[in-house]
């Protein structure tokens, strides 16, 4: 108990002295005359494990790219720990993109050595621990990995950094069930050893719903609801049933 401080300021929407991990205000994005995001406003308290859920084409990946500072919105602003999002914040967040971007010609070991060189916040002990936990073999060449193995390597890369904000975009796409369970428990174990904040976009509601403490539903480029998961459960709803209600 003493190792884990229950901080109620993380579970409420109330005013907290600390700036939120992520604060989006009035985000709008239009691509080729098509509205991708419209007036997207929400915040994510520090230490929260927030699920970003919505149907395909809802704007999740665009939103995550803007939060990560890889794309600019047409309107509105994003703050990461109280400072404007952008290239300067890259050291404070670790993003797992929705499409693999790992160099296929490298072995896992070569890639991890490379990653250790490019990320100043790389934690070699954590990388080793996660390699064992996620059973990623060091000798394999990346292009020969199965989708599940590659997804685990991506997660390992993402979580071996000390960045206080972790953003995972569909970490389970094409991953078999066993890998999903391994990934889910790795995510939890990771969260539990610090005050890190997770933002996870996923379609796998059932695998993930017990992990989330906060839920953001996005559809057609607008925020459809922001809820504390415990509040939903108090009214007899699960993450899944709430999702069905909102998008029915």
């Amino acid at each position: 108990m003493s190792e884990y401080i229950l901080d109620n300021s993380n579970s409420g929407i109330g005013v907290s002295a600390e700036p939120a991990a992520v604060e989006c205000i009035g985000l709008g994005l239009t691509l080729r005359k098509k509205s991708i995001l419209h007036d997207v406003t929400f915040n994510i308290p520090r230490g929260s494990l927030t699920g970003l859920l919505g149907p395909n084409g809802a704007g999740k990946s665009s939103l995550l790219r803007i939060i990560a500072g890889l794309a600019d919105p047409d309107t509105g602003s994003v703050e990461i720990f109280g400072k404007p999002a952008g290239a300067k914040r890259l050291g404070e967040l670790s993003l797992l993109p929705d499409r693999s971007s790992l160099p296929g010609w490298l072995s896992v070991r070569e890639w991890l050595n490379f990653a250790a060189g490019i990320y100043p916040d790389w934690d070699p002990a954590k990388a080793q621990e996660l390699q064992a936990k996620l059973s990623v073999s060091a000798e394999a060449v990346i292009s020969t990995l199965s989708r599940g193995e590659e997804a685990r390597l991506q997660l390992l890369t993402c979580l071996s950094r000390k960045a206080p904000l972790i953003i995972l975009d569909e970490p389970f796409t094409g991953v078999d069930l066993i890998s999903r369970e391994r990934i889910a428990s790795a995510v939890v174990a990771e969260l539990a050893d610090g005050a890190r904040t997770f933002l996870i976009a996923t379609h796998d509601i059932r695998e993930m719903e017990l992990l989330f403490d906060r839920l953001i539903l996005i559809g057609g480029g607008t925020i459809r609801s922001v809820d504390e998961v415990d509040t939903l459960r108090r009214s007899g709803k699960s993450v899944e049933s709430h999702y069905r209600e909102v998008f029915a």
Partner: protein
């Protein structure tokens, strides 16, 4: 010394439509009261249990907080969290659970249009046949 025990039944079916920490509190409470988890046992850390059950660590922290409030577990700084050795606290929790069981039993009888006594009487006759 530490005896092997499961803090929660295996497998434990979680209902995602109800607060999860309440389900954990209920299950662990029952296992302490019934002696399946011996008094003085050391509980797993919040991190360990959260990872093992695939739930948010806040859920486990809240579970432990509630069990501590009831008096069934105690935390010693730097040593960990343990099931209480205080039999009065365990007895108290047992009474609360017994009262609830009686209420449920009475409700089940009322649903059949009889009293709890009549239902017990029926059981006696039924097992003598």
């Amino acid at each position: 010394m530490d005896q092997p025990f499961e803090l929660l039944p295996e497998p434990f079916q979680i209902n995602p439509s109800l607060p999860i920490y309440e389900q954990f509190v209920e299950a662990i409470q029952g296992r302490i009261v019934s002696g399946q988890i011996p008094s003085g046992s050391r509980l797993p850390s919040v991190r360990e249990l959260a990872a093992g059950r695939g739930v948010n660590p806040t859920t486990i922290a809240r579970t432990y907080q509630e069990l501590e409030r009831i008096g069934l577990i105690v935390t010693y700084r730097g040593q960990g969290t343990f099931v209480t050795r205080d039999e009065t606290a365990i007895g108290g929790a047992r009474k609360v659970m017994m009262r609830r069981a009686i209420q449920d039993f009475k409700a089940a009888a009322a649903k059949l249009g009889i009293t709890a006594e009549q239902l017990l009487e029926f059981d006696k006759e039924d097992s003598n046949e």
